[in-house]
């Protein structure tokens, strides 16, 4: 269909017509007559027949959720994921605390300490998904692309803790070993050709 058809506001010339609607009954007798007429006309069975016909044909057009799921866009912002480094399989999160600070619904909490190798270690990390508004600021601010959004949008479980656990969000080590970790393409992701734009420090030696 061309756009002109939509843009043409002149309704009179395009086959539009007024529906002939009979007047509403005003007195009791008129209303009674309308009820009797509608009840015995058999209009009801028109709709029932459409459903029955489609059922018999087994030609179903709706998505069979939860067996079937629609593919979602790569930028969809659902439950967070914690990514690992491709090089070492180690966790990317360095515990800088920027996600905690930027979170506008104040749902991220973390605790860090110095570990035995004098590195900063995240000891506890939770996201209260009951408060999270999935704005994506945490993923955008993350300097290490560690916290990202994922495609997991189903938030029903017997245990609230299932969703707020660091382990739950972290890419499983098996997935990592199989090189199957998916990078997030949405908010906060590296733009294409980032490598070419990075300025390097001169190293004369």
């Amino acid at each position: 269909m061309k756009m002109e058809a939509f843009n043409d506001r002149n309704v009179a010339d395009n086959g539009y017509f007024l529906v002939d609607i009979e007047d509403y009954p005003t007195d009791g007798w008129g209303k009674f007559k309308r009820v009797v007429r509608r009840s015995f006309k058999g209009e009801l069975f028109v709709g029932l027949w459409v459903v029955l016909r489609e059922m018999i044909k087994f030609d179903i057009h709706t998505v069979q959720y939860p067996e079937e799921k629609m593919p979602i866009g790569p930028r969809y912002r659902a439950v967070h994921e914690m990514k690992r480094l491709w090089e070492s399989d180690a966790e990317r999160c360095i515990g800088c605390g920027l996600c905690e600070k930027i979170c506008i619904s104040d749902c991220i909490r973390m605790d860090t300490k110095i570990d035995e190798n004098s590195r900063k270690e995240v000891t506890e990390y939770t996201i209260n998904l009951g408060r999270c508004i999935f704005c994506g600021y945490c993923a955008e601010v993350c300097p290490e692309l560690a916290i990202t959004h994922g495609g997991e949008y189903e938030q029903a479980s017997e245990q609230r803790e299932h969703f707020v656990d660091y382990e739950y969000m972290l890419t499983p080590i098996d997935t990592m070993k199989a090189k199957a970790q998916k990078e997030f393409e949405g908010f906060g992701a590296i733009t294409p050709h980032e490598d070419e734009r990075v300025k390097k420090t001169p190293l004369a030696y």
């Binding site: 004098s118 900063k120 420090t201």
Partner: protein
């Protein structure tokens, strides 16, 4: 020669006092010159060269931080050439600086971050071969040489202000690092001032490292609650863990103009967590109704003291606090001669002084801030520091120009000798003249072991000095002749150019002594103890019948050694009952404790200022805008100075009740980071006299109590006086700090 120098900075007419540098004048006039290594309280490090300025008619750049202006010069602080120079310096600072801002503790408050952004360093055209630099663990302090920018602030502060002189620069061009001076590992008093001044994350607190970020912490400006210096500090709090309540993560201070000792910096976790316990509260009310007396310590706010005084008036009970009572008596004796309620000097006066005499206090551990002030005076003004004490103190060794050792207990004689020397040419009244003429100098010198030559030497070293301060301390308050000592000190203050600083024992000894009328402590029944012994104990320490908040959990004020009324703020919430809740039950009715701040007695110099109007900060130019100074109150001069009594002799084994560095009381003993060394330290001579050996378990039996300790031989000590820490058991303030004691080995 005129003392005012007129010149121009960027076309603006400015004036400098003699001795001021271009940078100081610029800052005073709100003209911005960037700096990296400059710190106001030390001499210029002159290592960064960012403060370079141009002077008309002079080739090249001039360092504004250490150059005084001359008459009529025209200084330019901004030009394209300077901009290039400064940007290049910043680029050099950024060479190989680890890009770990994400985890660095300093991130968010880092001078290097700020200046790199200020000069918009977007690319780098210098390079150097990176080196392996190992992170050093120096106990409470952690040093990462890779992050160090060699500004040398830490070295200057350690040497000039603190006096530990424990760190040094190991020069080596690009491989320069900070190293412990003359030692493998850091051997110092752990004041942590180097951490405070470090502009980057090179020197950090080991305990704090990687636990929180600058931007997550809430700052609570308050006053340190450990000793009578009442230093300004900021508690930085944050939730602990992911569900936890708030905790203090670290303490910071305004290092630009003031300092803080390690007890304040590392000993912040002395809070008391408690919930409301109604039965204990009822018990406390019952105990107060039946009480004959309340015994309390001076680790308390003025407002609470006023409540106690009101309770005393209401219930007709007595108030026991030996420490403050003896201090009050000492001050009363002082006032009766000087005609003033408060002593005249302050720590700032010491910093300005060029002659300081210290008697009757082991000042480096009794009040570290006074020590820092003396060190500052000695380094910046070349002050003559006369340290008189029965024991030599290693911490004062590099500051004191003369050590006068006197015999234990002869303080009165020493002060009399001092008065005799200093008042020689003064125009004094008849009574004083008579007193001096009566002195048996030979006897005093012989008994106190202070030679005529020592006094003469001191006197001689004062020949060119102008600002004198006499510092007296806690050995004297419980001395048998305390009152006469106070009168003699007042005499010196009155008739010479000496100002007087009397250092109280505890954080608010001065406040307690001013606000309430104290009774002589005697063993009675039904005593309610507040942080002290009693039949019913209200306490912010363990073993309390009713839990009370510690001083980092209350609002209130204290009076410090400078006679300043300083505000304390709530760093951590306290959920239990307060003293005010108890008072309310007795119809001493104010909703909040701080409503008493404006009611503190005005006849003692307190002002009618509400707590919420008290400020607590240093201005950008370094003016101390904290609390207020007690008003000067004049008193009646009435006292007659008594003749010096026979000087006592302390023979045999003597134990000196004196805390180690960074420990003051049971609250500092409660903290996690501070070292708790409770051994009795003595010399080989002491060990021989007591017939004990290094490492022996011993019992110290003195007048009132028996203490179990381990004995440690200390090579730095001499004589038969041993040092016994009391921070874990509490100072017996009613007794002279030197006690003849029997030492028994426990088998």
């Amino acid at each position: 020669m005129s003392k005012i120098i007129n010149f121009k900075i960027d076309g603006k007419d400015v004036q400098a006092k003699k001795g001021e540098t271009i940078l100081q004048v610029a800052r005073k006039n709100d003209l911005y010159i960037p700096t990296m290594c400059y710190i106001s309280k030390t001499t210029p490090c002159a290592s960064c060269r960012i403060c370079s300025v141009e002077v008309e008619g002079v080739d090249g750049f001039i360092l504004s931080c250490n150059t005084p202006p001359t008459e009529g010069i025209e200084v330019k602080i901004n030009s394209d050439k300077l901009e290039v120079e400064r940007t290049n310096i910043m680029k050099l600072y950024d060479v190989n600086h680890p890009l770990e801002c994400g985890v660095c503790d300093k991130s968010g408050e880092c001078d290097l971050q700020n200046m790199t952004l200020e000069f918009n360093v977007g690319n780098q055209n210098f390079s150097a071969k990176d080196q392996l630099r190992k992170v050093e663990d120096w106990g409470l302090i952690n040093y990462d040489p890779a992050l160090c920018i060699m500004c040398e602030k830490c070295v200057h502060v350690c040497n000039e202000v603190i006096g530990d002189d424990a760190i040094d620069v190991k020069f080596g061009g690009y491989s320069s690092v900070i190293i412990p001076k003359n030692s493998q590992t850091l051997d110092c008093t752990y004041c942590g001032e180097c951490i405070a001044v470090c502009p980057v994350g090179a020197l950090v607190s080991s305990d704090f490292k990687y636990t929180a970020n600058a931007w997550e912490l809430s700052r609570v400006p308050s006053t340190c609650a450990h000793c009578s210096a009442g230093c300004s500090l900021e508690y930085e709090t944050r939730h602990f863990g992911i569900n936890g309540e708030d905790n203090i993560y670290r303490v910071k201070n305004n290092f630009e103009y003031n300092s803080l000792c390690g007890a304040g910096r590392f000993g912040f976790d002395f809070e008391n967590r408690a919930k409301k316990d109604a039965t204990a509260f009822e018990g406390a009310l019952e105990a107060l109704k039946n009480a004959n007396a309340i015994r309390f310590t001076s680790i308390i706010t003025n407002e609470e003291v006023l409540i106690l005084q009101k309770l005393k008036e209401k219930l007709g009970i007595k108030l026991y606090n030996e420490d403050a009572r003896l201090y009050a008596d000492f001050m009363k004796a002082y006032s009766s001669v000087s005609g003033k309620l408060h002593h005249s000097a302050s720590m700032d006066a010491i910093k300005q002084a060029d002659a300081v005499v210290i008697i009757g206090t082991r000042i480096a551990t009794d009040n570290p801030m006074v020590r820092y002030a003396i060190r500052t005076a000695s380094q910046h003004n070349g002050a003559k520091v006369i340290y008189a004490h029965p024991l030599e103190d290693a911490l004062m060794k590099n500051t004191a120009t003369q050590f006068i050792k006197y015999e234990v207990g002869t303080e009165e004689g020493v002060i009399a000798l001092l008065a005799n020397e200093l008042l020689k040419n003064a125009d004094i009244d008849e009574d004083a003249k008579a007193f001096l003429e009566e002195l048996d100098l030979g006897y005093l010198e012989a008994e106190s072991n202070v030679g005529d030559d020592e006094i003469k030497q001191m006197s001689k070293s004062f020949s060119r000095t102008q600002n004198h301060v006499l510092v007296l301390g806690s050995d004297l308050f419980a001395h048998a002749r305390a009152k006469n000592i106070a009168k003699l000190a007042a005499l010196i203050e009155k008739y010479t150019n000496f100002s007087l600083l009397i250092v109280p024992n505890e954080v608010n000894t001065a406040g307690v002594s001013l606000i309430c009328e104290l009774d002589v402590d005697e063993e009675t029944e039904n005593v309610v103890g507040y942080n002290a012994d009693g039949d019913f104990v209200l306490s912010s320490l363990e073993e309390a019948d009713l839990a009370m908040p510690a001083l980092n959990q209350v609002e209130g004020t204290i009076v410090n050694v400078d006679n300043k009324v300083l505000p304390l703020n709530v760093a951590l919430a306290f959920d239990g009952y307060l003293l005010n809740d108890l008072a309310k039950a007795f119809d001493i009715d104010k909703e909040y404790t701080v409503e008493y701040t404006s009611e503190l007695p005005s006849d003692k110099g307190f002002k009618n200022i509400a707590f919420d109007s008290l400020e607590n900060f240093y201005s950008p130019h370094g003016d101390d805008i904290r609390g207020y100074l007690l008003d000067e109150v004049s008193c009646v001069v009435e006292a007659v100075i008594e003749p010096v009594a026979d000087l006592p002799e302390f023979n045999g084994t003597v134990v000196y009740n004196c805390n180690p560095v960074l420990q003051f009381n049971k609250f500092t003993n409660k903290t996690k980071q501070l070292e708790k060394d409770t051994v009795l330290r003595g010399s080989a001579q002491f060990a021989a006299a007591a017939k004990i050996n290094d490492g022996d378990e011993i019992e110290i039996i003195s007048q009132n109590r028996t203490i179990k300790r381990k004995f440690k031989l200390d090579d730095e000590l001499k004589g038969t006086v041993a040092l016994n820490p009391v921070f874990d058991i509490g100072q017996e303030s009613s007794l002279y700090r030197f006690q003849k004691s029997k030492i028994v080995r426990v088998i």
